[in-house]
Symmetry: C2
C-alpha cells in the first residue's frame, strides 16, 4: 500500500451526512491533519497558503486605514486577567494554565492568551498620556488558546489563528465609528474576496463579548442552513480604561479615559469558505484567496511537445494568475478529480490538437462550464473567468440564503420553521432576556443578530406578545 499512489478517495455526500462531508473535505483536500494534542490541528501547506492569502488581503485593508501591527506576549499573568470583572468571568473557565517554568513552580500562574484585551490595556496604560497619543490603532496576528470540550477543524479548536484589532480613541463617538468601520471591512472582505454574502447586525446582550458594551457581527449561512459568525467588532466604552487606569490629558487639559474597540476574524472563516462554496466533489476556492487559481493539465503528455508547451504556458501565466502545472504520471481523469477536490477555480487542458489549433480548454470549478480560449487571449480571458467564478459563487450563496430565510409572526410558526426548515428565521423581539432564552429552550434557536436593515414583521414580540423593539434573525449556529 505504502508504495502505491494514493487514489482520489470518495467523500461522503453532503445530503447523506453534512458533518462527515465537512471532515472528509478538510482532511482529503489536505487542509488540516489532526495532531497528538487534544483539540489542536495541524494546518497543512494547502491550508496555510489559504490562510496566508486571507491574512495579506485583510492586513492590507487594515493598514490602508492606518492600523499598525504589534506583537504581544502569549502569556497573561493571572492577576492581569482578573482586572476586568466580566472579562475574567467569560474566559477564566476555558484557559490553559502554565504553572511551571523548567523545574520551578511559578510564583503566579500564567494563562496562555485566550484573547489579548488585558495585555493591550496594560501596554496602553504605559504609552497613552496625551490626546496627541490618540488614536492608537493596533492589530495583532497570532494564535490563541481556549480549552474547548468538543472540537472540529477550523470551526472550534483549542488553539486557533486569528487577528485581533485593539484601538483606543479620544471620544466615544470615534470609537463607535471605528467599531462600525471595521465591521464593514470584514463584510467587504467576505463579499469581495471570499464571495460570501453576510448579514450585518448587532448582537443581543446575551450574545455579546465578555466585557463589551456592544458587539457587532457578520453572519453567514452555510450549506446546511446553519449560521456561522464570521467576524465580530466590539465597542468597549471606557470600561477597560477605568479598570486599567488608562488616562490621558485632553485638549481641555483635564484627565480623561479613552474609549476602546476590538475586532477579530479567525481561521473559522476557512470553515465558512468550505461550507458556503463546497460541493460533493470537494472544496471550491474563491478566486481572490485560492492558493492556486489555475491548474494546467497537459493532455496526452507523452506526445512530443505537449509537456514543453504546457510548461511554457505556465511560466507565461505566472504574472497573471497563481498557476501550477500537474505533470505527475497520474491519468487526466485522476488529476481532474484531485484538483476539483482541492477547489482550484480554473482548470486549463492543453493537448496536441489544442496546440495545433493555438487554443486550450478552460473549465470552471463552480459550474464545470467549458470554454475554448485562444492561447493569445489568455491574459485577458483568465481574469475575466476568475471574476465569473467569483460572481457565480456569490450569487449562488446569496440565492441560497434568500431561499432559506423565513419570517415568523408567532411562536408556533417559529417552532414549525425551526423544526422543519433549516435556515434563518426573522421574528420580532421585545428585548427581554427571558424571551430570548425561551426561544432557545422551546425552538432550539439563538439570536444571530439584530440586522442593521430592520423590517417590521409584526408589532409584537414573537414570544411574549409585548411591543416589539427589534427584528432579530434567529437560527442554529456553528
Amino acid at each position: 500500500m505504502a508504495d502505491n499512489k494514493k487514489m482520489v478517495e470518495a467523500i461522503t455526500p453532503m445530503d447523506e451526512d453534512f458533518a462527515k462531508w465537512y471532515t472528509d473535505v478538510v482532511k482529503k483536500a489536505e487542509l488540516v491533519d489532526y495532531s497528538g494534542v487534544r483539540g489542536c490541528m495541524i494546518v497543512r501547506p494547502y491550508g496555510t497558503a489559504l490562510w496566508e492569502n486571507i491574512r495579506s488581503d485583510l492586513d492590507a485593508r487594515f493598514k490602508a486605514l492606518g492600523h499598525e501591527n504589534i506583537m504581544l506576549p502569549m502569556f497573561i499573568p493571572e492577576s492581569l486577567l482578573q482586572k476586568e470583572k466580566d472579562h475574567v468571568e467569560g474566559f477564566a473557565p476555558e484557559v490553559a494554565w502554565v504553572t511551571h517554568g523548567g523545574e520551578e513552580k511559578l510564583p503566579e500562574r500564567l494563562c496562555v492568551r485566550p484573547t489579548s484585551e488585558t495585555l493591550f490595556c496594560d501596554h496602553y496604560h504605559d504609552i497613552i498620556h496625551s490626546y496627541r497619543d490618540l488614536p492608537k490603532l493596533y492589530n495583532q496576528w497570532c494564535s490563541v488558546v481556549r480549552w474547548e470540550k468538543t472540537t472540529r477543524p477550523f470551526l472550534r479548536t483549542t488553539e486557533f489563528f486569528w487577528q485581533e484589532g485593539h484601538t483606543m480613541h479620544e471620544t466615544s463617538q470615534e470609537a463607535m465609528e471605528e467599531t462600525e468601520r471595521m465591521l464593514e471591512v470584514y463584510a467587504d472582505f467576505c463579499e469581495q474576496s471570499l464571495a460570501i454574502p453576510v448579514l450585518k447586525g448587532r448582537k443581543t446582550d446575551k450574545e455579546k463579548f465578555a466585557g463589551a458594551e456592544a458587539t457587532y457581527t457578520i453572519e453567514a449561512m452555510m450549506h446546511d442552513g446553519k449560521a456561522l459568525q464570521s467576524g465580530t467588532s466590539h465597542y468597549f466604552g471606557d470600561g477597560f480604561s477605568r479598570a486599567f487606569e488608562i488616562q490621558f490629558t485632553g485638549r481641555d487639559n483635564t484627565l480623561q479615559y479613552p474609549f476602546q474597540t476590538s475586532w477579530g476574524m479567525s481561521t473559522r472563516i476557512i470553515g465558512a469558505i468550505i461550507m458556503t462554496h463546497g460541493d460533493d466533489n470537494g472544496l471550491v476556492m474563491p478566486p481572490a484567496v485560492a492558493p492556486t487559481q489555475l491548474v494546467v493539465i497537459p493532455i496526452a503528455p507523452h506526445k512530443p511537445g505537449v509537456l514543453d508547451a504546457a510548461a511554457s504556458l505556465r511560466d507565461r501565466l505566472k504574472s497573471v494568475v497563481r498557476v501550477k502545472m500537474d505533470d505527475s504520471d497520474n491519468s487526466a481523469g485522476w488529476k481532474f478529480a484531485e484538483h476539483e477536490m482541492k477547489g482550484v477555480p480554473l482548470r486549463l487542458e492543453l493537448g496536441p490538437r489544442d496546440i495545433e489549433n493555438n487554443q486550450c480548454v478552460i473549465v470552471r470549478r463552480d459550474n464545470r462550464e467549458k470554454t475554448v480560449v485562444s492561447l493569445d487571449e489568455l491574459e485577458t480571458k483568465l481574469p475575466e473567468l476568475l471574476k465569473a467564478v467569483h460572481d457565480g459563487l456569490y450569487q449562488k450563496a446569496l440565492a441560497r440564503r434568500e431561499s432559506m430565510t423565513y419570517s415568523a409572526a408567532s411562536m408556533s410558526e417559529l417552532k414549525e420553521l425551526a423544526d422543519n426548515k433549516p435556515g434563518f428565521i426573522k421574528a420580532m423581539w421585545c428585548g427581554a432576556l427571558e424571551c430570548e432564552t425561551a426561544l432557545k429552550d422551546q425552538a432550539g434557536v439563538t439570536s444571530r443578530c439584530m440586522p442593521f436593515e430592520q423590517e417590521r414583521i409584526a408589532d409584537t414580540c414573537v414570544c411574549c406578545s409585548k411591543p416589539a423593539k427589534h427584528m432579530v434573525v434567529w437560527g442554529k449556529a456553528y
Copy 2:
C-alpha cells in the same frame, strides 16, 4: 508632563556603557517595551514592521527554493518531547509546562514548544510513506518559549519569534546539501538585505544543537567585538526518523528511514542589526528591511506651499521607496534627531528655496553626507542612495570585523588577546573537548565556529600542542 510633547532623549554613549546604549536604543527608538510577564517583550509597531520586512524577504527566499509553510500546534505532550533522548535533555530544563485546562488538571502535561522537531516528526510519521512523498520541505513562522534566567530584548527572551525549517530527504547526501544550502540562504540574506557580513562555519560538538549530527552557523561581530550567532542549520541524519519510526518505501522497494534537517533564524537578528550598525545617535536601519526608507521633512512648513509640495512629493515617491512625511509641529532639529534615532536611512529636506530651485537636500543616515538632488531625478537617485547606504554599512562592518580579528599561536598569546582585545581570535584546535573547555575556563572564550574557509595558523593545538585538526574562531558571545 503628560501634556508636554516628549523630547528626543539622549542615549548613553556606546563607549561609556555598551549594554546600556543597547537597551536605551531599543526602548527609545520604540522597537520594544517591557511587558508584565517575566522575560517576555512587547514588540512595538516599529519593531514589528521591521520583523515583517525580514520575514517577507526570507519567506520569498525559502519559497523560491520550493519550501512550503505549515502551522503546527504550540503545545507538545510530555511523552512526545521525550522521544529523542539528546533533544529532551537539551530542552526539558527550560520549557514552560501547561498543567491545567480551565478548572481541570490535564492527564498529561503539555509544554509550550521550545522548538518543533518532535511535532514535525510526529506529522511526518503520518504523511511520509513512499520515496514519492519526499523531499518534504516545510517551514513554520511562529513564536517559541524557553524559560531563560536572564533576558535582554531580542537577544534572549522567554518568548521569541522565529522561523523553523524542517525538511525530510530520501538520502543523507540530499539532506547535507539542504543543510548547507539553507546556511547560504541565511548568509546571503544577512549580507544582501541586512548589510551584515557573517562568518560561515561548523559548530564544534560541544556547541551543536541538541539531537543534531552537525550544526552549521553564521556568526556576526557586534560593535563591541562580541559574536552573535545569527542563524543555524542542522543536519540530523536519521536519528529522529528512527526515534519517531518514520519510514518510506524506497525506489528499490525496501523500507528506509529518511534524513532530516532543520534551520532557524529568529528576532535575535534584530539585535544583530542594532549592534552592527547602530551609533551614538541611535539605530541605523539597513535599507532593504527599513520600515521607513525615506522621511520627508518640510522646512519652514508654515510658509505657503511648503506642506503641499512635501505631501505631493511623498505621494509621488510611494511607488519608489517606503516613505513617510513628518508634518508634526516639532522643530526641524527635533525631527532630524527623532528620525536619526529610528535609523531611517535617508532624510529629504524640502524648504521654500528648494521648491523655487526645483531641488531638495538628501542626507544619509550612515555618514550624514548631504546631496542636493533635482526633484526631477528622485526616481533614479533614491534607489542609488539607498544602495550607497547599504554598501557603506556593509563595508564599515566588514572593516571593523577585519580590524578586530586576531590570530593566536599559543595559549599565552590567546589569553593576552582575550583579556585585552575585544574581537575574534583564530587559533588551531586538536578537536578534544578538554581543550575547548580549557579555553573557556582559562581565557573566557568559546568556539564560535570552524570556518568553511580554513587557514593554517600553526601545526598544533593552541591548548595541548597535539596535532591540530581545525582552525577555530574563538570569542565572547551574546
